[in-house]
Symmetry: D2
Subunit: 370 residues, 4 copies
Amino acid sequence: MSMNSFGHLFRVTTWGESHGPALGATVDGCPPGVEITPEMIQQWLDKRKPGQNKYTTQRREADEVKILSGTFEGVTTGTPIQLMIENTDQRSKDYGDIKDKFRPGHADITYFQKYGIRDYRGGGRSSARETASRVAAGGLAREAIKAIAPNVQITGYMVQMGPHKINRDAFDWDQIEQNPFWVPDAQAATDWATYLDGLRKSGSSVGAIIEITARNVPAGIGAPVYGKLDTDLAAAMMSINAVKGVEIGEGMSAAMLTGELNADEIFMGNDGQPAYTSNHSGGILGGISTGQDIVVRFAVKPTSSILTTRKTITKSGEETEIITKGRHDPCVGIRAVPVGEAMMACVILDHLLLHRGQIGQNRGVIGPQS
Amino acid sequence: MSMNSFGHLFRVTTWGESHGPALGATVDGCPPGVEITPEMIQQWLDKRKPGQNKYTTQRREADEVKILSGTFEGVTTGTPIQLMIENTDQRSKDYGDIKDKFRPGHADITYFQKYGIRDYRGGGRSSARETASRVAAGGLAREAIKAIAPNVQITGYMVQMGPHKINRDAFDWDQIEQNPFWVPDAQAATDWATYLDGLRKSGSSVGAIIEITARNVPAGIGAPVYGKLDTDLAAAMMSINAVKGVEIGEGMSAAMLTGELNADEIFMGNDGQPAYTSNHSGGILGGISTGQDIVVRFAVKPTSSILTTRKTITKSGEETEIITKGRHDPCVGIRAVPVGEAMMACVILDHLLLHRGQIGQNRGVIGPQS
Amino acid sequence: MSMNSFGHLFRVTTWGESHGPALGATVDGCPPGVEITPEMIQQWLDKRKPGQNKYTTQRREADEVKILSGTFEGVTTGTPIQLMIENTDQRSKDYGDIKDKFRPGHADITYFQKYGIRDYRGGGRSSARETASRVAAGGLAREAIKAIAPNVQITGYMVQMGPHKINRDAFDWDQIEQNPFWVPDAQAATDWATYLDGLRKSGSSVGAIIEITARNVPAGIGAPVYGKLDTDLAAAMMSINAVKGVEIGEGMSAAMLTGELNADEIFMGNDGQPAYTSNHSGGILGGISTGQDIVVRFAVKPTSSILTTRKTITKSGEETEIITKGRHDPCVGIRAVPVGEAMMACVILDHLLLHRGQIGQNRGVIGPQS
Amino acid sequence: MSMNSFGHLFRVTTWGESHGPALGATVDGCPPGVEITPEMIQQWLDKRKPGQNKYTTQRREADEVKILSGTFEGVTTGTPIQLMIENTDQRSKDYGDIKDKFRPGHADITYFQKYGIRDYRGGGRSSARETASRVAAGGLAREAIKAIAPNVQITGYMVQMGPHKINRDAFDWDQIEQNPFWVPDAQAATDWATYLDGLRKSGSSVGAIIEITARNVPAGIGAPVYGKLDTDLAAAMMSINAVKGVEIGEGMSAAMLTGELNADEIFMGNDGQPAYTSNHSGGILGGISTGQDIVVRFAVKPTSSILTTRKTITKSGEETEIITKGRHDPCVGIRAVPVGEAMMACVILDHLLLHRGQIGQNRGVIGPQS
C-alpha cells in the first residue's frame, strides 16, 4: 500500500515537494523494449511548464527531466524507471509572510492537522508542482502505449472556463494547439483571453472544466468491479490538485436522461466490429471499453491564491486576514490539460497491460464464426 | 492486486453473480473487538432490498446475510469476516430471449469482448445485485466506525430524478425516511411519485443524482496524493453500477466560481476548533478532512432494461432489435442510496484506521499552546 | 493490503476458523475459460483430509468444497471464485479445558496479545484447518496452469521426519503415492511407519522436511527484486502453519559451497534450449526461472499438542501446567505435503500470468538468429 | 502491485542499476516527526560499502546518500522520502568480455530470457549494488523505530563461512564490531581470515550464513495468515541477492525436534510479562511476536564471479568457456550483514505501524485484572 502511488501493473509513485531539491516519479512495471529518450518526455513537461505565457504562474522552472534508471541504450529494460526533475527556481522567501497563517481553500490547514508539520514553503506535496512528476510518467506511458496499441490518441482540451463554455458545434481538433487555453473553438479562445486578462489584472482566479479524449482504444479493456476503467479514471482525475468533479460520457447529465435516450444503439461497422449510433457511455460499459472514444471530464476549482483579503486563523488559533501575493495561475485549468492527458495515458496503458495478463486469447469475437 | 477489492486497511472483496447460488463480501482488516450481529447488517440490506414498493424491481430476494467467519461470541476477532447472502429468486428463464442479443447501454457486450464468456443470466457480476455485498460490508463498517468515532453520521438521499431537482431551501433531514425516494423534501417526494408512476407504466427508465453526507468526521483524516479521501470516494462511487459522474462539494460547478467565492473563510468555532463560513470544499482540502460535512454526489444513468425496441446485434454479428422484459427498476437511483452510504462508510472507516496507523500522536493542534 | 491474501494477479484470500460454520478461499484473477468442477478440486482436499490413516488427526471432516461463484456452465468467467468448505465435525467441547491456559509452542498466546480476543476453540485462524482453503485454491490453480503451460508437474513429498532422512540414491517418483508419508523411498516408508507408531503411542510429535518440485516450468518467469519467484515461494511456504525454514535448491547448504561447485555450467540441450550440468540453483537465478526443476523445501516444527505435561500460564498470569488431549497429528508434515503443493501451484500460476502481462513477445531467444 | 517494492505501510521501492547514473529508494509511509539526517543513514551505508578491506570487492564507491524529499528542517513530514546514491566508479569496461557470454550461476541468462534485453554492464538490477538502496531505507527505518519502540536493537553477524561455524558457547556480542566478518567469536574471526585469504588468492569464492537478531520487540506485532512476521521476514531475506535459504528460530532443524523439546515453556517474568524457558520459536508464534528475541538466519551462495574456467553458452547459442575477472567479493556474506539488518529494520517498523493501525487499545493484557 502506498498513498503516493497509482496504477496496477504500470505503477507510478510520485515524490518531492515544491521547494525541495528535486521531485520525480518512480515507475515500476513499464514493459521492456520501449524506446525512450528524455526528449520524448520533455515535450510534455514543456507543455505543462509554468511561465510560458501571461496566463500561467511566472515561476521559472526549466523542468528538465533526467532518466536515472531502467533504460539501457535508449530502451526500457523492464526495471524501475526513475524520472527526476530538479527544482531550480524555489524562491521560498515569497512565502515568508504566510508562515503562520492558513490560506482559505488551501490544504495547508489539513496537512497540519494530519501531520503536525507546517511546511509553509509553497504547499509541499499539495502544490501543483507535484503534477510535473505525473506529466513525466505520462510521457513514458504514451511511448509504451505506442508499442502495444499504436493507434491510440490521447488529447486534452478545455471546455469551460468560469461561466464560458465552448460551442460544441464549432468543435475543431486543429484549434487545440493554436491557443494558450488548449480550447477546440477559435471564438472561445478569443473570448476567454479577454475574460482571463481581466481576472488576472484584478488578482482573482477562476475554475474550469477539462475534457480528455482517448481515441482508438481497443474494445474489451477494463475490469470489474473496483478496477473498472472508469473507476480508475475517476480516481486518477480526482487525485489531481483542485479537482472537485469527474464525469464519464454523459456524466452528471445522465441523471436527466431516459433509458431510450441513453441507450447507444449497436450496429455492425464497416470494419466488421460493433459500432454505436451515439456515445452517451463515454466509451465504457460495465467498466470495460467499447472501442468508442473514451471521454472524461473534470472540474478544477479556482486557486486559493488571490489578491483579495480573506478571513483566516493562525497556527495558534488567532483570527486574522490574509492576502496571497505569490506567483500563481489565474486559471489552473490551463496547466491541468497536460496533467489530465498524462493520467489518461497511465490508466490506458495500465489496462492494456492488465488485458495482456489476464485475458490472452480468450477474448470474445463478435461475428459469423463465433 | 485484486480487481474485485477496495480499501487500504479495511479491505472488502465482493464475489458472486446475479444468478449463482450465493454472493457476498470477504472483509479483511476489520479491527477486533467490534460487536456485530447479522441483524445489525440486515437493516441496511433491507433498505436496499428489491420489491419493497412499486418503484423497484419485483424480484423477490430475502437478502438474508450470514456471518461465516471472523467473529467469536458476537465480537470481531481481527480475522477475515465472510458475509454471505444466498440467492433465492433467480428465475433465470426470464432472461432466455436475450441469450444471443446484446442490450444497448448494458455491459453484456463488453464483458463478452473482454472475457469471451456470455453469461446471459441477468448480467453476472455487472448486475446491480452485486451491490448487496457492498451494503453488507458497509453495515459492518458502520459498526466499526462507532467504536472509533462514535459521532460520525452517514446519510444518503436523492437530490435529482430525471429533470426534477430538490428544493435546497426546503431541505429537511427528517423527510428522508418518510418516502420511498429517500428525498429530503416532502413536495419533491409527492411530485416524483407521479413522475415515476408514468415512467414505470410506459416501461421507461430514468437517471438520478444521489448525495451522501458524512457528518462529524474528525479533521485530519485522508492522505496525499493518490490515497486522498476524495480520490477514494470518487473511485468508490464510480465503481457502483450505472454511475457516470462524481462530485465533491461544489463538484462540476466549481468551474464557475472565482477564488473569492470558492474560499471557505476560516474562524475559530465555539468548540475551540477551526470553523468555516461555507463548505464549497465538501469537507475535504488536499485530500484531507476539514472537520466539516463531507459531501459527495453521484449520477446514475437510467437502466438499459426498457420496453421500447432498440437496435442491436447478436453474438454472431447480425443486426437485430431488442426489448427487455425482465423485472427491473424504473429508477435505479432509489436503491443506489444505501449503496452510496455503504461505500462512504467503508471509505471513512478505512481512513480512520489509516490515521491511527500512520499518525498517532503527531497530529497538529491548532490553538494557543501549539 | 490484506493480511489474509497472497498472490499478485492470481489473488487468494482465505477466510474462516477451525470452529466456525465454514471456511474457504476467495480467488480473484483466475483467467476466464478454465474448465473447473468441484471434483477437480476435491481430489486435492481428499489428499489433505484428516483421519485417513492412523498417522493423522482423527477429526472427521468431509471437507466438501462448493463453488459459489465465478463459473458458468463449468468454465471460469474471469470473476471472483468463491470456494467454500463447511465445517461438520467441530466438537468444540474437546477444547474446554484449555479455555484459560496458553499452550507452549502454540499461537494462542500471541493472538491474545495482538487481538485481545481469546478464541479458545481450536486455534481459530492459526489452526491447520485454514490450510484446507489453500488446498482448494491450489486445485483451481493447477487447472488454470494446464490451460497456459500444460506440461508443468507439481509434486510434493517428505524428505525427512525427525532424524530420519530419505536416501537420495533410492529416490523413486513412483513410490510417492504408495505410502501414507508421500515419501519417494520405499525403505524410508517402512522405517518411518515404525518410528511414528512409537511417537503416536507415547503422545509425542515430531517435525519434518517437505520438498516440492515443479517440473517443466518455462524459463523466464519470475521478477526482480521483491517479486522474485523464490521470494514469493519463501513467503508462501513460510506462511504455512508450523513452518520454520525454507530452502531453494541448495538452501542453507549453499553456505558450504565454493563458487566452482555452486556454478551450474551451461550447455545447449537437445531441444535447442539452454541446459545445465547441475541444479544447485533449484531452478531459479536472480528470481527468474531457468527452465530446470524448481525445488523448494520447508521444515515444519512438531505440533504443540502433546500428552506430556508442560509448564505454562493462564490468562490471568498464574503459572500452571498443561496437557493437550485433543485430536492431533503426531507429524503435521504429512498433511503439509498437499499444502506445499498448493502453494507452489498458486505461485507458479501467478508468475505465468504476470509473464503474460508484462513481457509478451519481448522474451529473449537464445540461439543462432538472436 | 510493484515488483520492486516491499512493506505494507512502510513501503520501500528500490530503483537503479549497477552501472547507471544513480540508484536509490523511494520510501512511502514513513511516519511524520522522525528526526533524520543524511549522516544517520550514511553510517549504515558505510558499513556495507565495498573496498573497506581486502575481503570485499575493490570497487570504490563513495555511496553518499542524498535526501531529496520528505523532510523539512531535518524532520520527516509524512510524504515520500527519496534517498538517492549516485554511482561514481562504474568502470564498465571491465565487463566488456562478458558481453555475449552468460555467467554460470548468475542471473544474466534468466534476465535475458525474461526481458529480451542484455544489459551486460555488471548485472543491472541483479547486482549486489541494489542492496545499497535497501541499507539506506533500513537506516531510515531504524530512526523511525526509535520514535515508536526505542528499546529495539537490531544486530547482524555471520555464523558460518564455508564449512566453518561459530562456537555458540563463545558467543560475544562485543566481538561483532571488532573484526571484518561481523562475527561474534574472536577465534572464528582469526580462523576465517586465514581461510578467506586463501580463497581470495586462488580467485575462488564461498557461501555463508548470516543471523539477524532483533531484541526488545514488543509482544503482539505481526499478523495472520500471509502477513505473518515470519512470512514477511522470509520474503525480505530471500529477496536479497544470492540468498538460498531462510530460517526462523530452530529453522530447518525444527524437523528433528519432538514436541516436548520444541515447546518453549511459559512462566511469568520479573517484569510481570510472560517469559519463556527457551526460544526455539525465534520469537514468533503464529506469525506474531512473543516478546523474545526475533532470530532470523539466511544462507548466501558463493558469488559466480571466479577465476576458474567454467563451461557456458553465448547469446547465439554457441558453447564456450568463461572466466570472470571483474572486482568481486570472495564472500558476499560479509557485506550481506548490514543488508540483512536493514531488511529486519524495515519489517519490524512496518509491523509496528500496522499494529498501531489495526489494534489500538484492543491488545490483550495478561495478568490479574484481565
